[in-house]
């Protein structure tokens, strides 16, 4: 077979700008490069010298799709450095905020990024002509998630109330009923989402590799806990660098994250599902059964189903947190001092790491941030290697669209790959 190179430049329906270049030779992948030509924004550089207390605000600007995850992780890392521990209600409210971000992101992914693939439209907007109800359902789910984000965080994109030491204010109690009602009403839409995604025709493909997700006793971990791997190891934020390292890849894309021992790994909904299945609420478990997925799930395309399941999980859990009341104490006034702090949380796309070294005035002297997309990027390339042999016979267009779907199934968020750097679009 002749060598051919598939270039999918500027992958659409992912958040940010990236391309995939695959060189195929004799039905095998000779080379797969997930390139990111999103310009580097150098957060880790300009955070130097900034005040630790600004970090949740500043780092939320890493990513407009999952700003909440960054803000929470930054706050936790600083709290870790300054040895601040939070009261139970604040911790719970933070989780509710994180879940609202997750629900929003998942609804967006399912309805606007993935569904067009499976329903055969270039975009949800195009689909809205025929499938207005479906698109509107996506909007509704998203809107209710956003309502909660705004209620707790003050704003949907880039929350303002989240701060080191807690929240700058409690959410207005008089609106609580309305919010809980809205969440209740969204369950129906969430179930219909399960039916929708269960009926998508997913490509047959399985891959076995290390999964990593946050884990915490007794809960489907999102904001609290330590990282757990499918190979049975546990580590916390401070030990992160003993387990995960990075290497800069010369052909220009994100830094590649490597798990101890030199392997690629997966983070995100599938990893969470596989490692924390037991802690899903009953409704979510039922939904999983109904849609025929069970751990260990090995088909990355089916992450779409997991996202739908996680929407149900998020709704149920937000409800139960909010029902216990939304009054939180005012934020603790931190004592600034020298220190190092790190945190791991689950962003919608998977494990997110922030770590900071602070000087004695509480200024950042070093920042280290690794996003879920950076964690997954090598995994995506490996999947390409594994998938292509079975589909190499397809024509360029079909091949390209399948590979696009594969990349999208990781919902890569290239905007937030702070480690990403630019440039050249390589074409052969």
């Amino acid at each position: 077979m002749v060598d051919r190179t598939i270039v999918y430049d500027y992958i659409s329906r992912v958040e940010g700008q990236g391309s995939l270049e695959v060189t195929i030779s004799n039905g095998e992948v000779k080379d797969a490069k997930l390139q990111i030509f999103e310009a580097p924004r150098f957060f880790e550089a300009f955070l130097r010298g900034r005040r630790a207390l600004e970090l949740p605000e500043l780092t939320s600007r890493i990513c407009g799709i999952c700003p909440i995850a960054h803000a929470i992780t930054a706050a936790k890392a600083v709290e870790n450095a300054l040895e601040i521990s939070l009261d139970e209600r604040t911790v719970a409210l933070r989780k509710a905020l994180a879940l609202s971000g997750m629900m929003q992101s998942h609804a967006l992914h399912i309805y606007f990024l993935a569904a067009p693939d499976y329903l055969g439209y270039p975009s949800a907007i195009a689909a809205s002509k025929d499938l207005l109800d479906v698109v509107k359902r996506g909007f509704r789910l998203k809107r209710i998630a956003n309502m909660v984000s705004e209620y707790i965080g003050g704003r949907v994109v880039h929350p303002v109330t989240l701060t080191v030491g807690g929240f700058t204010r409690s959410p207005p109690a008089e609106k609580l009923d309305e919010i809980i009602k809205a969440l209740d009403s969204s369950l129906q839409d969430a179930f219909e989402t399960i039916s929708l995604v269960s009926n998508f025709k997913y490509p047959e493909f399985e891959s076995d590799h290390i999964n990593i997700a946050l884990s915490n006793k007794g809960e489907y971990a999102v904001t609290e806990g330590v990282a757990k791997t499918s190979s049975g190891e546990y580590f916390d934020g401070r030990d992160y660098r003993k387990y995960v390292n990075e290497e800069q890849v010369p052909y220009s894309n994100t830094k590649r994250s490597i798990f101890r021992g030199g392997s690629s790994f997966e983070v995100g909904p599938v990893a969470r599902f596989n490692l924390n299945y037991d802690f899903l609420c009953d409704t979510a478990k039922e939904a999983a059964e109904k849609s025929g997925v069970r751990p260990p799930l090995k088909n990355p395309f089916k992450s779409t189903i997991i996202r739908a399941i996680e929407i149900i999980q998020a709704i149920e859990e937000m409800k139960s947190i909010l029902k216990e009341g939304v009054n939180v104490p005012p934020p603790q006034k931190p004592k600034l001092r020298q220190g190092m702090g790190a945190a791991l949380t689950e962003a919608p796309r998977g494990l997110l790491y922030h770590s900071y070294i602070l000087d004695k005035e509480g200024r950042v002297s070093k920042a280290d941030i690794v996003t879920p997309t950076a964690h997954n990027s090598w995994r995506i390339e490996r999947d390409v290697y594994e998938l292509v042999p079975s589909i190499a016979h397809l024509d360029d267009n079909s091949l390209r669209s399948l590979l696009g779907m594969l990349v999208r199934s990781y919902d890569p968020c290239i905007s937030c790959s702070v480690h990403a750097f630019t440039v050249r679009l390589i074409r052969e």
Partner: protein
């Protein structure tokens, strides 16, 4: 009603995508807006390729930080009748421009072990490269203002954002002034309003993400901070954030 639907492209340079997300978050209102507006290019949600025909309006998010983006923004300018700089990054470089005062090589080696592969430059707002017809303020932009802007343009009328300050909106909300009561420097007095004083109303100072309002006096504000005992160091950090307020002061 006039000359058919408004042809709009949404573009992204160096940014977090947050401003595009505000467009997506319009949700049902987005469907209403789409009765008047045709999204010809919106890579984040659609496969459609760069259109060949000229656009009525380009909404551009993000700062220009390297040569490619410089070329890109010029290309966008050429193909669009009306160009909107959406968000702090597009207006002033935004947070990305904080690093502008540090030599680029130093910046790159902070993040990358082999910075020789990286090509990046200082971060600038779009108006350093092209003419900007209108701004949408904020980090991120405001959904309501986005709707008003698109609806104005749909009837072929330039958009309008009232020229009031965050400080005024903060007062209208009956908030206790954070600067006066806690002594924390707040940029509300010189910042373009329209966010309904979101941050001060939630108990935190305005960080100036919507830029400096024409006719306000940042020098006076700096003096007020100094008189209230705010340290020069904190003032420096405060002024060098989303907007280019520091430029107005060093001039």
């Amino acid at each position: 009603m006039m000359n058919g639907k408004l042809k709009v492209g949404v573009f992204k340079l160096a940014s977090c995508s947050g401003c595009q997300m505000v467009l997506v978050h319009l949700e049902e209102s987005l469907l209403e807006v789409l009765k008047y507006v045709e999204l010809k290019y919106f890579r984040m949600v659609s496969d459609d390729d760069l259109p060949n025909e000229p656009l009525d309006v380009a909404i551009v998010e993000g700062a220009v930080t390297n040569e490619e983006e410089g070329i890109m923004i010029k290309k966008i300018r050429k193909m669009s009748r009306f160009l909107i700089a959406a968000g702090a990054c597009a207006a002033t470089g935004g947070l990305n421009a904080i690093k502008n005062t540090t030599p680029e090589g130093e910046v790159e080696s902070t993040v990358y072990s082999s910075p020789e592969y990286i090509r990046s430059g200082k971060a600038f707002g779009l108006n350093e490269y092209v003419n900007v017809d209108a701004y949408l303020y904020g980090c991120p932009i405001d959904g309501r203002e986005l709707i008003n802007t698109l609806m104005s343009l749909a009837i072929r009328v330039p958009p309008y954002i009232p020229g009031i300050t965050v400080c005024m909106e903060c007062k209208m909300n009956g908030n206790e002034c954070i600067f006066l009561t806690r002594g924390e420097p707040c940029l509300g007095p010189v910042t373009v309003g329209g966010c309904n004083a979101l941050c001060p109303s939630n108990g935190v100072t305005c960080e100036g993400c919507r830029g400096v309002l024409k006719g306000t006096n940042p020098k006076g504000l700096e003096l007020a901070w100094t008189n209230a005992g705010v340290s020069p160091d904190l003032i420096r950090l405060k002024l060098r954030k989303y907007s280019d307020v520091y430029k107005l002061l060093t001039r």
